[in-house]
């Protein structure tokens, strides 16, 4: 049973990589929602405590599909100071940033973030509080960590206001969305978000998960957590398809999008299919000027965790050759259970140039640090 943490005290943790690297997906959490209260009015504190987040899922607490681990986290990620995984900056520095030589870590707060709350005004207030908390408790305390602007994305205009509020603040590296929204992410209601992000020079990260309220399969609700986890890849495929076909990339040529925690190996096949089918059906989308794959190859990046693990592992490299090594951003997903260790996630030979691009340079270019 997965209930005990191995005692590794006899051997101090070894630095797993000597390269200074970037990490595109770290999940800080407040020790308690009350940590956010300095930035949340008394009225919203009471609404949140009394009625909850009202996201589009049934359980009051926990997620739609029970995770395989408590809080979906590594069993060794609970800080001795109390609070949940990734709630203690000192311990996060020790267990993640220092150990793995991370010089740039992108924070993606998920639980709670205020994103996907059905009560729009609560979502507006809550996301602001989470943004203030990221700056006050994390980014201003630790220069290696950069924040993501969480936004009340189901209200495009309000989300754009939140982006403009923080535009120019160097603690923020991107705007964060979740992949499972009320409608596909290419639809017009979300365009104010892309407009504001492009204007602020911030990439838009789209992280797997969310609360769209529609099944993760086109044939209805899946039964298992395994299906949900595998399904995040098709949500990302459908989301990018929507953004391409609706014309988001054509309309906002300065927009950069990062697909986070949804996989990498499906991207070449999606591009082949999009190109092949669009060529036949393009009369429907005269607003597109380029092949779908051209938009994706120039405006989209993919974070690597959870990295696919073919046998033999070199095959992943062949798939990345098709996608392009310039499109990848390494990520750990700390403190979650399916964490990728930078020393072990890519156990095959790659050129020094590709290694530098994957672990560092692509991120520095996209996030602008």
């Amino acid at each position: 049973m997965n209930v005990e943490v191995l005692d590794r005290s006899a051997a101090a943790p070894q630095a797993s990589s000597r390269l200074m690297i970037a990490d595109g997906d770290i999940h800080p959490r407040p020790a308690s929602a009350k940590d956010l209260y300095p930035w949340l009015s008394r009225q919203w504190q009471e609404v949140f405590e009394t009625f909850g987040s009202r996201a589009r899922q049934g359980w009051e607490k926990g997620s739609a599909y029970p995770k395989m681990q408590p809080m979906a986290s590594r069993r060794d990620a609970w800080p001795k100071t109390g609070g949940g995984p990734a709630s203690d900056l000192a311990f996060l520095r020790e267990q993640l940033l220092d150990l793995h030589h991370i010089e740039l870590g992108i924070m993606n707060p998920l639980s709670p973030s205020g994103q996907g709350f059905q009560n729009t005004d609560l979502s507006i207030a809550f996301t602001r509080a989470v943004n203030e908390w990221q700056v006050a408790c994390w980014a201003s305390q630790e220069p290696r960590l950069k924040a993501s602007i969480v936004v009340p994305y189901e209200d495009g205009a309000a989300a754009a206001r939140e982006i403009r509020h923080w535009a120019g603040n160097k603690h923020f590296a991107q705007v964060l969305l979740l992949s499972r929204t009320a409608e596909p992410l290419g639809t017009r209601r979300y365009w104010p978000i892309y407009e504001a992000a492009a204007e602020a020079g911030l990439p838009v990260g789209i992280h797997a998960f969310g609360y769209g309220g529609t099944p993760i399969t086109t044939s209805g609700w899946a039964s298992y957590y395994c299906e949900e986890m595998v399904g995040h890849a098709v949500c990302a495929q459908a989301g990018l398809t929507s953004m391409v076909i609706e014309g988001v990339f054509e309309r906002f040529p300065g927009l950069k999008v990062i697909s986070i925690e949804a996989g990498v190996a499906w991207a070449p096949a999606l591009m082949w299919r999009l190109d092949a089918q669009w060529k036949k059906l393009k009369a429907e989308t005269p607003h597109l000027q380029k092949l779908p794959s051209e938009y994706l190859r120039s405006q989209v990046w993919w974070t690597t965790q959870p990295i696919e693990e073919p046998e033999p592992r070199e095959r992943l490299g062949e798939m990345i050759d098709w996608l392009g090594w310039d499109r990848l951003i390494f990520a750990t997903d700390y403190p979650h259970w399916d964490f990728d260790d930078p020393a072990f996630a890519f156990p095959f030979r790659m050129s020094e140039e590709n290694k530098r691009a994957l672990f560092r340079e692509n991120a520095r270019q996209v996030y602008g640090f």
């Binding site: 395989m68 044939s219 899946a222 298992y224 595998v230 929507s242 299919r273 669009w278």
Partner: protein, 353 residues
């Protein structure tokens, strides 16, 4: 002994509702007329979409072949096909009424038998199932299974509940008992949005997302354990695309390792079940253009047994007779066009092998 390809995904045209009416029970025929029932054409294949009927296959009535003779001229002879499996897309799956679905499934299947199978010995067909009610679906299998020209049973990849769910298992058990592979065809009954992130604006998205439907549908079949329960079961993914298979299986295998606690009946890695039980039709081939890349792709797929030749007639997936992508070795072509279909459809072996 046959030598020409076995075309595993061909769509016979229905000229109009008038063609089906004589095969309906009188009560349903009467109701279809009184209620002014429209033709059973799904938005999965809009009548005038260029993909639905390739331009040079579009006849005077704006449809493709609606008779065996027309089909032979456009779909069998140009490809030298020796056998074609008819998968009728007249969309009985969209009915909300179980009873209407049952009535029309019977009629369409009887029409296929009388108007197609009786008229050209090269034709075989899949039994359309009214899956709105599992008992009715099993009943239809039992009714038609004695006719060995029905070589498969068919429903859509996107229906009301995921295909692996236990409620469907009596269908799989009946199909396996009769040596009939279960074919899941692209398309939706639109009980659920046509993308995993909601209703899409464009047909282009709907069609592209069919590939995601097959990915989640296959996950459902594997995780629910139907292959562990029914070792004889074969499933054929029709018009599914397959170039997504390597990346998909790598991800599924990784998460199967991480979530085996909740799936104790899935005792083998997912690729094992795919190799033993699942096959994919060739078209649409959404792959790389360069033959060398196609060859690499097949290395990643890691099997020469998974693909079944198909033209997907009359859907526009290629030009001329170029149904086989460049870059396949002669040995692989032989497998795809003949060996794999014969290994998949037990009933073909009885009559043509």
């Amino acid at each position: 002994m046959i030598t020409g390809p076995i075309d595993c995904d061909v769509h016979p045209g229905v000229a109009s509702m008038e063609a089906i009416l004589p095969y309906l029970d009188p009560m349903w025929r009467d109701m279809a007329e009184r209620r002014g029932l429209d033709e059973l054409i799904s938005i999965s294949y809009p009548s005038n979409s260029p993909l639905t009927v390739r331009a040079d296959w579009r006849g005077k009535n704006n449809r493709a072949a609606c008779t065996p003779a027309e089909l032979a001229a456009q779909c069998l002879e140009p490809f030298g096909s020796s056998i074609a499996i008819l998968n009728c897309l007249y969309s009985i799956q969209l009915f909300f009424s179980e009873d209407l679905a049952r009535g029309f499934a019977r009629a369409v299947n009887d029409w296929i038998r009388a108007e197609w199978l009786e008229k050209d010995a090269r034709l075989r067909a899949s039994i359309l199932l009214p899956t709105q009610n599992v008992d009715y679906a099993v009943e239809e299998i039992e009714r038609l299974a004695p006719d060995r020209r029905f070589v498969s049973v068919m429903f859509l990849i996107s229906e009301e509940t995921p295909p692996g769910r236990r409620a469907h298992w009596p269908i799989y058990a009946a199909a396996a008992r009769h040596g009939l592979p279960v074919s899941l065809h692209a398309g939706s009954s639109y009980r659920n949005p046509p993308s995993p992130v909601g209703w899409t604006s464009f047909y282009t998205e709907d069609y592209v997302n069919q590939a995601t439907a097959f990915q989640t549908g296959l996950t459902s079949l594997i995780t629910e354990g139907v292959f562990a329960k029914l070792p004889e079961l074969k499933v054929v993914m029709l018009e599914s695309g397959f170039t997504w298979l390597p990346g998909y299986l790598w991800r599924l295998t990784k998460f199967w390792r991480g979530t085996r606690q909740e799936l104790p009946w899935v005792t083998e890695p997912p690729a094992h079940y795919v190799r033993e039980h699942v096959r994919f039709s060739l078209q649409p081939f959404d792959g790389p253009a360069e033959p060398a890349d196609v060859e690499r792709l097949f290395t990643l797929i890691d099997s020469d047994e998974l693909l079944l030749f198909s033209t997907d007639y009359p859907h526009w997936q290629f030009e001329g007779t170029a149904a086989l992508p460049a870059g396949l070795s002669p040995a692989l072509v032989r497998r795809i066009t003949l060996d794999n279909p014969l290994a998949t459809y037990a009933r073909l072996r009885e009559t043509v092998a």
